[in-house]
């Protein structure tokens, strides 16, 4: 029996995976430079780095998708050459991709066996595969139904299927690429329990992320990458978030947002008795009322799926209100068109799903930056688009908002997540506005970009803009808000001042527990 907890491992043993002096040069770019890495059996190694730090390139080399320009890779002490992922899989390396590689219309069983099918008399032996899946899912406490169809499963379960896919192929080394980016807090806890089980059973894990708290929580060892190089290692028992953030970014990072007291002015957004229906036809908002004043940030907290998404959609004109009233700057905007709300209402919207609502992946950065005003001069004259004005506008915003892109004509979809979000923020923040609606403004992006966007939001408040911030991250709500509204089952259960709010108190409200004030 192995002792539980891989931290007591014997470091003198041969590492299961070793990367020696690996350099990867793409035309014009050095993606990895002289990287060394070793991974022991039963260890969780966290690979920390900002977007573009070279984490993905390194993992793609280990998984056989790229070939190193220099250097070598050793598995169990033996030098190996991997031409394709197939070779990596044979060597016991499995990868859980950030964007799940699962066929939505197929069952769990079909997805897991795809490419490595079990066959009896030339026909697929689904029963044997399902039995194997049940056995694996029991051994590693990865609960799934082999007959479930992927598209009906929650994201957390799909991720378990991805992990099972690797285990089915007898992976001993698991690479988890940003596994927490798409998960809810509860699902993240579940994933961590699975990772611990895997470690106890002797599997080795490389955990790629840029979330500092997670790293300190789960990793046995931390390696930080910046600009393609290893800039240091850290021991999670001693390191602090502050130190790690500085290593990642290469300068001091302020994790807490600096902001002065708010000076609320007149009411800008006035919502009264709002009711709406969800996509599933169930009541999503059951009479929501609140106000946001100029010069303050009102944060909406709550466990996801309690009506936050629908609230933002109704206010921005993307979903119909069944009852109630919305006023922006004194004008009635209930069920007004999105353009009337953005244009007439002088409001901006940073949507929670940037790919669906925030940007057009196949458009250039320049075009994405004028999506909300391309029809206005100077970008349009009569029926024609003014390319020069659009380009000039784009250059100015890319500079001001630090959007890192090879050119303003690059497709928006090819930027990193953080830069895409900065692009959306640049567009939404650069018009004269009086109301800003920001939904999950920092979801899935790196520390440097988060810091930047947070500062921009506070700057907008100080200019006298009314800000409605919706976030699933309680830390973000606590850091930015002046008042905090907690949503529970389609209602605002309470609104508290930031000064009176505690993490515990908000947590109780999020769970629907409301204490009447003691008289």
């Amino acid at each position: 029996m192995r002792s539980p907890g891989g931290s007591q491992l014997n470091t003198s043993a041969t590492p299961v995976l070793e990367v020696r002096n690996v350099t990867k040069i793409f035309p014009g770019v050095v993606a990895n430079e002289d990287v060394n890495l070793h991974l022991h059996q039963g260890e969780i190694l966290a690979l920390l780095g900002e977007n573009g730090a070279g984490k993905s390139t390194l993992m793609n080399i280990i998984f056989g998708l790229y070939h190193p320009t220099h250097g070598e890779i050793l598995v169990n002490g033996q030098p190996v050459r991997m031409k394709t992922p197939r070779d990596a899989i044979k060597l016991g390396i499995g990868m859980v991709h950030q964007h799940f590689q699962l066929v939505p219309v197929m069952t769990v069983t079909d997805n897991i066996m795809l490419g490595d099918e079990s066959v009896k008399t030339r026909l697929l032996d689904r029963r044997a595969v399902a039995a194997r899946i049940r056995e694996l899912s029991q051994r590693y406490s990865l609960e799934v139904d082999p007959d479930g169809v992927i598209e009906d499963l929650p994201v957390g379960v799909r991720q378990r299927v991805e992990i099972l896919k690797a285990l089915y192929r007898n992976a001993n080394i698991l690479i988890l690429d940003e596994p927490t980016a798409v998960l809810t807090p509860q699902e993240i806890d579940g994933l961590f329990r699975v990772m611990q089980t895997l470690r106890e059973q002797g599997k080795s894990i490389i955990f790629i992320t840029h979330k500092l708290k997670e790293v300190l929580h789960i990793a046995d060892r931390i390696m930080v990458l910046r600009g393609g190089r290893v800039v240091g290692e850290a021991d999670p028992k001693r390191a602090t978030q502050q130190q790690l953030a500085s290593m990642m970014v290469g300068r001091e990072v302020i994790l807490t947002v600096e902001k002065g007291p708010a000076h609320p002015q007149e009411v800008v957004l006035d919502v009264q008795g709002l009711q709406a229906t969800s996509d599933l036809g169930e009541p999503a908002l059951r009479g929501v009322s609140f106000q946001v004043r100029a010069g303050e940030i009102v944060g909406v907290a709550g466990v996801q799926g309690n009506g936050q998404t629908e609230l933002v959609e109704v206010i921005t004109g993307l979903r119909k209100a069944d009852a109630g009233r919305i006023q922006i700057g004194g004008a009635d905007m209930t069920n007004a068109s999105p353009r009337r709300i953005t244009h007439g209402g002088k409001s901006s919207h940073v949507p929670e799903d940037r790919h669906a609502y925030g940007m057009v992946d196949s458009y250039s950065v320049a075009d994405n930056l004028v999506l909300n005003q391309y029809y206005l001069p100077p970008f349009a004259r009569a029926a024609t688009i003014q390319q020069d004005a659009i380009a000039e506008h784009a250059r100015a915003l890319v500079e001001k908002f630090d959007v890192r892109t090879p050119s303003i004509y690059t497709h928006g979809g090819s930027l990193s997540g953080g830069n895409q979000q900065k692009m959306v923020v640049a567009r939404e923040f650069s018009r004269p506005i009086r109301l800003l609606i920001a939904a999950q403004p920092t979801r899935g992006i790196d520390v440097g970009s988060i810091e930047f966007i947070h500062n921009q939001i506070v700057a907008k408040r100080d200019e006298g803009v009314a800000v409605l911030l919706v976030s699933a991250e309680l830390d973000e709500i606590m850091a930015l808000s002046d008042r905090i509204a907690v949503m529970y089952k389609g209602e605002i259960i309470d609104i508290v001042d930031r000064a009176d709010a505690t993490r515990e108190g908000l947590g109780l409200l999020m769970a629907g527990v409301k204490h009447e004030p003691v008289q």
Binding site: Q101, L102, V103, V105, G115, V119, R122, K165
Partner: protein, 327 residues
């Protein structure tokens, strides 16, 4: 109903005979075979992610090739000559499929345009090369299956057919099993739904697309061969007359499932039979042009009514570039 009409006194009623008579049912099957084959062709291509709008062209090319093969071997024994025609129809259909795959995969041409090119190509070449004096001598005749053909009504409709009709019905079952119960089918469908997922587990997406598009072309070619070698016995310019497109409609109506598509093809075939029977029986005073419209009207209604409810393979029509190349 059909049993009652054909074996009891109900058969006295002209209307019932028009709708359910053996002749109507036989005609239905005959009209359905090319549609079924065309729809199978579409299913094979689209399930792996290649839109095949060129079924019409592949069919016409197959028909013309079968005709040329048959006329140039008229002096051979009839069965040899006919089978040679079938082989050539398959080969030319397969070549058309290969061309479509080449355009779509290697040259990344828009697949709708590539399909359209094939239609125009087949129409142009077959019209240009068609020798109007050539005559194909003989065609496939019905082979009653021993025993089964003795069953009343059913035997006459299902078990007294020429060979390509039997082959088609068997093919539907084979394709269904192959798609959903074999390694090849699972991998093919993965390529059509989520090629990247297939690639990351070591499946060569584009190779699957090439192979399945070629097989799909062969099936469409066989449909053309059926028209010349089994149904009509001769070739006429543009003789496919939109059957490729109706096949496509049958494929959609059948939700990209072999049996569903066969059902849809039979429905469309039945409307053609109905049109025929109505005109022959002379039971209606409606102008014949309106009666002739029935198959097309039913096709339009079926497809427009169902198109929102069916679900095409998610990645169809999209070029797949391998990970190493695109990043």
């Amino acid at each position: 109903m059909a049993l009652l009409v054909n074996s009891t006194a109900l058969g006295e009623n002209t209307w019932l005979r028009v709708f359910f008579g053996v002749s109507a049912l036989n005609f239905t099957l005959r009209a359905s075979v090319p549609l079924i084959l065309g729809a199978m062709s579409g299913i094979l291509c689209e399930r792996t992610g290649i839109i095949n709008i060129g079924i019409e062209g592949m069919m016409l090319a197959g028909a013309f090739a079968a005709f040329v093969a048959k006329t140039s071997t008229n002096h051979w024994p009839l069965m040899n000559s006919l089978l040679f025609g079938v082989a050539i129809a398959l080969a030319v259909g397969g070549a058309m499929g290969w061309l479509h795959a080449l355009f779509s995969i290697r040259y990344r041409m828009d697949q709708i345009i590539s399909g359209t090119v094939l239609i125009i190509l087949a129409a142009g070449i077959s019209a240009y090369l068609f020798d109007r004096n050539a005559v194909a001598e003989g065609k496939f005749g019905a082979i009653p299956l021993p025993g089964l053909s003795q069953i009343p009504v059913l035997g006459e409709v299902l078990f007294t057919n020429p060979p390509l009709t039997y082959a088609t019905l068997v093919l539907v079952v084979v394709i269904h099993i192959a798609l959903f119960y074999t390694k090849w089918g699972l991998r093919s469908r993965a390529c059509g739904e989520h090629p990247r997922a297939a690639d990351t587990v070591g499946i060569n997406v584009n190779r699957f697309r090439y192979i399945n598009t070629i097989i799909g072309g062969m099936l469409a070619g066989l449909a053309g061969g059926f028209l010349v070698l089994e149904a009509v016995g001769q070739f006429q310019e543009g003789m496919t007359a939109g059957r490729g497109f109706i096949s496509l409609a049958a494929m959609i109506f059948g939700n990209w499932m072999p049996f569903g598509a066969m059902g849809a093809a039979m429905l469309f075939g039945y409307t053609q039979a109905l049109q025929n029977e109505l005109l022959l029986a002379g039971v209606t005073t409606v102008p014949r042009q309106f009666v002739s419209m029935i198959p097309y009207v039913v096709t339009i209604i079926a497809v427009s009514g169902f198109v929102g409810r069916v679900r095409p393979p998610a990645a169809e029509g999209k070029v797949y570039e391998t990970e190493g190349g695109s990043e």
